[in-house]
Symmetry: none
Subunit: 226 residues, 4 copies
DNA sequence: GGATAATCGAGACGGTACGTCAAGTCTTCTT
DNA sequence: AAGAAGACTTGACGTACCGTCTCGATTATCC
């Protein structure tokens, strides 16, 4: 049923734009364009924008209706269905489209500081309207593996790649012991944040980032002497 | 009309109809029974059972339909609506009804061991079919605060109460330093578990419990000497 | 299913009142009263009153709900069902209970005048709120023969009996020819009134009565000479 | 959203798709067809047919359920609701759709004969299964002015137009006096028929038509000499 | 005076149909 | 061909009454 959610649906974007120098009289498009009316970039963006907008405003994933998106985007319902096989695919696409790269990892020369800063930033994002989108994505993902995969592929893994580097720098600098399981460390660092984000049983404050770093990274630094 | 989602709907549990102990002459019935046909306990249980059953089987919270529950429970749809104002209320009730007390905290004389055993058990439950119910609850809760509150009130807090005691025993025994924020510790312990459960990016194995305990609790034991 | 709608449901009314001479010491009730709590006359009247009230106010027969009647009459729904097998039976009963004897036939010494006056009165009633009850009765009767029968037995026939007498007086006085079909005459007289009442295509005014009388009765008076 | 009950829903009747006659180069289509999938004529007819069918079979107007109609017509319930705002509108439409022109007024050269024949035909129709439809329409109309209006607009008035002509011919021929109120005459003629049809207190036979004509029209012919 | 019996209130029960919403598909005209 | 428009089937929604049922409380007669 679900087609590749991860694939770039925005095909066709590639390059009829690069006019390509030349002296051809007629259509000098290098790239073979299929006949017929080309996909409307305007519609595509409008749909993605509306999706994000409604996720931020209203409710969760299941409250989101394609009907409403199409209406808000001033687009026919069929246009949505033509390009995204499921609501999950659309939301995943919209999410990745909106995912600004605000979560860069800094390099201050200290693992604790680097991780702390980035985690702080994540907390801020989760608390913002963008957090609603993440929330919807995770909620929807609980009954749609594809959606969850999209979250991982477009949000989790790219950031983990940077996190690995940050941690590795710490190891190289001797701040962290070698031979540790990086994924496990990262789960320990981010777990508490997501826990409070999901269950909402306690405040999700900036300094939580520091407290976790203090506990986890310094716990690593000083191996048990017992 | 609106019903307290948290309140126990199973009133009339202890019906002392055959009271009569004592020497009173007339009516000694302590509990005044309201007039009218009494609620069918059979229906109530059947509905709760079917709810859990369908959550375990099919999909998530939004895939669950009251229509289907009523059909499966051999009960009129109106009977469901008479007692539970929303699907969320029903699922919350069903969840708490099914939440057996399999998650008791042991008392082995060691914090690390106590917590580890309990976390192990949680992991097993999350991996089992019951995990689907938790998953649905958390997913649904992302767009329904009441549902999330129900999860906390009926699942999280009761268990935290025991956890506090377990940790306190550790402090009393000198295994943990005094003056620590218990909730923060618990979030650190359970965060990674729930993270893997929700995002499903890594295996959720039993030994994860021990690894977290080792990192977090032993990190506490040995305060940084720097 | 339907029990005799026409039968007096208010059995038991018969005569414990006629004390019957005698010298009995105790309870000299001649009529054996069955044991058990007697029917509440208050409830019965309240139900009938509410039924009429709602028919006058709201909509037609099918808009009338037993639920609403019971609520309005401050009576349990079961009490209604105990005494009237169907809504039709109840409405029929209520109608006959409310049917005041305002439609007496006068005796002025002239058929035309007698009939005219009575028809005038009928028109006034149909135009009043009571007309809504008649309308509901006829509407309901179209899919419930029992209800229609009730209308005839309790409204139509009693009045026709008097009409026969009025017409006969006219015949005796020589105002009308002998040997005419009285029912046909009455249908001719009342038909136009009911037609306008039912189809509401034209005004239902008092003078319609006179016009019909003029046409029909005078038409009878002067037999075609052709 | 609300739909004119009286309006012809069967738009698009004359679709000149294959226009092209003439010398125009391009599109000569006179009637602009709106975009989108066109309404299914098949569904429309099926619904109307089923409506009539069920009215003939089962019970009255209130016993008729849109659910059942949709099922019988093999059509989704929403399709019914899309085109007819209320059950009344649907029934009115169905009625007018089924109302064949079997009630033409003849022109035999005699008013009495013309009217008698037509009234005879009406009686036959009312006695037939089609009578149940009329009955349902009038019953429903008692609590729904729109439905009653539909009956008048689609059944009563069209026929009255012809009746006026028939009567006028009689006047022109000297069979009837000039200056009479045609509507009053028609109410007098049809009133008794509908009275017996609605109240069902007496037989509705063919010869009733002649008897009424004899009474009413001949009564007119010979003005009272008193 | 206690058993018996029928009523009444209250209200839960299994149903049926309601009228609405959104889903996803299909058909048509327009660009 | 894509897009806009909009009709289509499907299925669940939450509500209103239906007519039935099971209660406790009441009110009578009968033994």
């Amino acid at each position: 049923m679900a087609q590749n959610v991860v694939a770039q649906n925005n095909a066709g974007s590639a390059a009829p734009r690069t006019g390509s120098s030349g002296t051809n009289k007629k259509k000098e498009t290098c790239v073979k364009r299929s006949p017929g009316r080309p996909r409307s970039e305007e519609s595509r963006l409008s749909i993605l924008r509306s999706t994000i907008k409604m996720l931020k405003e209203d409710g969760g994933f299941s409250e989101l209706s394609i009907e409403a998106i199409a209406a808000d985007a001033n687009v026919a319902k069929t246009t949505v269905y033509r390009w995204w096989p499921t609501k999950a695919a659309l939301v995943a696409d919209a999410f990745s489209h909106s995912a600004a790269d605000e979560l860069r990892f800094p390099d201050t020369g200290s693992v604790v500081s680097d991780m702390g800063l980035q985690m702080r930033r994540l907390i801020q994002i989760l608390r913002s309207k963008r957090g609603r989108v993440v929330s919807a994505l995770l909620a929807g993902g609980q009954s749609d593996p594809e959606l969850l995969k999209a979250f991982r592929d477009r949000f989790l893994w790219p950031r983990r790649q940077h996190a690995y580097q940050t941690l590795q720098r710490g190891i190289d600098r001797g701040e962290l012991p070698a031979g540790i399981n990086l994924d496990f460390i990262l789960d320990s660092l981010y777990g508490p944040i997501y826990l409070r984000f999901i269950i909402r049983h306690d405040k999700l404050e900036d300094r939580l980032a520091d407290e976790i770093c203090a506990l986890v990274l310094k716990g690593l630094k000083n191996p048990p002497q017992s």
